[in-house]
């Protein structure tokens, strides 16, 4: 009896020991199972890519809307408030006309000239009438979003660039002349410049390994701001000053409208810069942060300079400073670190203040709304500072054969980048000056550029559009 109990007691650990030492034999893994696992992995990869695409496309569509908002009503209000009351509608109509005209031209031929595969300087006609531009991505430009998203995003840039030039000839250009001039300008100045900087085979495109002068222009410091700003200078010199300038006071009729416009520009610019990452990526975050920091620093810089120089900081100065910062950070936004963005903004605020307050009154040209002083000068400063502050830790553009990042800008030790930036700046200046001069001459001969003296005195609203902006007594 006792022996039975003892052996039963001993058996229990023996049984459990037997279970852990001798495993149950597994059936061999089959090819079918491997294939099924591979399918599951592939399906997961595709799902992840689709999710990334969805995120990227959502952000890019929002960015496109933000950039259009910058023109209408951002720029329309900003410029509209700065002119005299009798010209408010005429000024807003100039921005609005671009929204219509440039869109149609872009759809027909503009996108092709800018982003088709042509040569170093301009695209071709492969995408005439948007042929071949579908909802599948174009890996040359943005591999995770439909090409039509890329196309529509770029269109919003093409719209605002000529609209900026209107600041130079405010209150004195015929509507018909403006419509013809700026439409042609968008084709012969904007599209080639966009191609050179962003086209897959562009001369200046830093992503093009065959580029002659790879320059860093993330969101269009040269393409948008230098071209529009320098063209603006050419326009105001060619067309001459407003009647009564500079002795008559021609102050903004509504700083309220300009203020609202400036804030819409600030917020919209997040689409302009951060959207230029062409994806909802950490690079977009970088550009977003840089944009905001530079703007704030520039507004402060201009305001301090004005406070010292004139005794009081004005609302006009603060918003002008903010726009100067936005312009200067545009080429740098996806290449620099946040502290560099603060520095770029501060420099831009001070330089543009100097341009508007000292240089303009010294030379006496009537750049009515400071398109050259802010966009031309700010864009030039920004493009050059991009070469200084571009850091490969933010955006590794140059890579060696093994794929390791190489130095980007001077801050990384690559001082040669300043030469590339200068080339981009110089080309932008040259193409703007020559293209604008030719077009001004042609359009002047066709329809005449300026309104008559009586029309200028009556205002653009009545003379060009038979309307009044405000009829507060009705």
């Amino acid at each position: 009896m006792m022996l039975l109990f003892l052996s039963a007691l001993l058996a229990i650990p023996a049984i459990s020991l037997a279970q852990s030492v001798a495993p149950v034999a597994q059936p061999p893994v089959t090819q079918a199972q491997i294939a099924a696992l591979q399918q599951a992995v592939d399906a997961n990869k595709a799902a992840a890519a689709a999710a990334q695409s969805a995120g990227d496309n959502a952000w890019m569509l929002v960015s496109s809307a933000l950039v259009l908002l910058m023109t209408g009503p951002g720029l329309a209000l900003f410029y509209g408030g700065l002119v005299r009351k009798k010209n408010i509608l005429g000024t807003m109509m100039q921005s609005f006309a671009m929204m219509g005209l440039v869109t149609v031209l872009w759809a027909i031929v503009g996108y092709s000239l800018a982003f088709g595969h042509g040569n170093w300087f301009v695209g071709n006609f492969q995408h005439l009438f948007l042929r071949g531009v579908t909802l599948t991505p174009n890996a040359d430009y943005a591999a995770t979003i439909p090409e039509q998203t890329f196309m529509i995003y770029q269109l919003m840039f093409a719209i605002i660039t000529p609209a900026l030039i209107c600041g130079a000839f405010a209150e004195r250009m015929k509507f018909s002349a403006m419509a013809i001039f700026l439409s042609l300008w968008s084709l012969i100045v904007y599209c080639p410049m966009a191609h050179m900087v962003w086209g897959a085979d562009g001369l200046l495109n830093s992503a093009n390994i065959h580029a002659r002068f790879p320059s860093f222009d993330f969101a269009g410091g040269t393409v948008v701001h230098i071209t529009s700003g320098v063209s603006a200078l050419v326009c105001c010199l060619y067309m001459g000053k407003r009647k009564g300038y500079p002795y008559t006071k021609m102050a903004p009729h509504s700083m309220v409208l300009s203020f609202i416009g400036a804030c819409l520009l600030w917020v919209g610019w997040f689409g302009f810069n951060a959207g230029s990452a062409l994806a909802a990526s950490p690079l977009a975050t970088s550009a977003f942060v840089n944009t905001h920091f530079a703007t704030a620093a520039a507004a402060i810089g201009w305001s301090i300079a004005e406070w010292i120089h004139n005794g009081k900081p004005t609302a006009l100065g603060a918003i002008s400073g903010a726009v100067a910062g936005l312009v200067a950070i545009t080429p740098a936004s996806g290449f620099v670190q946040p502290m560099s963005a603060l520095a770029i903004g501060l420099v831009a605020g001070l330089v543009c203040f100097f341009m508007v307050f000292m240089v303009k009154s010294f030379f006496g040209y009537d750049d009515s709304l400071d398109a050259f002083g802010v966009h031309g000068a700010g864009g030039t400063v920004g493009a050059l500072l991009t070469g200084l502050f571009a850091a490969s830790v933010i955006n590794p553009v140059f890579k060696d054969a093994a794929g390791n990042p190489l130095p980007s800008g001077a801050i990384d030790g690559h001082w040669g980048q300043m030469l590339n930036q200068s080339a981009g700046v110089a080309i932008a200046w040259i193409i703007s000056i020559t293209g604008t001069l030719v077009l001004l001459f042609v359009v002047d001969k066709l329809v005449g550029l300026r309104v008559s003296a009586e029309e200028e005195a009556a205002g653009l609203d009545l003379s060009q559009h038979n309307e009044e902006g405000y009829d507060l007594n009705s």
Binding site: P246, Y247, K249, A251, N310, V356, M358, K360, S361, D370
Partner: protein
């Protein structure tokens, strides 16, 4: 019957209006005007250039009063509007031929 036209600083409007009401004058016309006196306004700075601004905002009050009330009205305006600084304004007095109430065709001093 006299017409009293007073050109005032806009900031003085409320004080003058209240004083006139207290003095028993309760009909008046108030207009927004622009102008300047001998000093021709002031200079303003805009975008690096200096401009002379000579169209300054003013308020104009027009009163029609009986001859008997004329001195009282003028003195009321003077004491309520005077600050002692340039830009206080001016008062002009002229004679009017007739006054008519549109509602019931009353004429003369009864219409004031």
């Amino acid at each position: 019957m006299v017409k009293i036209e007073a050109i005032l600083q806009p900031s003085r409007l409320d004080a003058v209006k209240d004083a006139l009401l207290e003095a028993g004058i309760d009909s008046m016309t108030i207009l927004e005007a622009r102008g300047h006196g001998r000093q021709k306004g002031h200079t303003e700075f805009y975008r690096g250039r200096e401009y002379s601004v000579d169209l300054l905002p003013k308020i104009k009050i027009e009163l029609i009063v009986n001859d008997a009330m004329k001195d009282k009205a003028v003195n009321t305006i003077l004491s309520a509007a005077r600050s002692g600084h340039i830009g206080d304004g001016k008062i002009f007095i002229s004679r009017i031929d007739d006054a008519i109430r549109i509602r019931n065709d009353e004429r003369g001093e009864a219409a004031i």
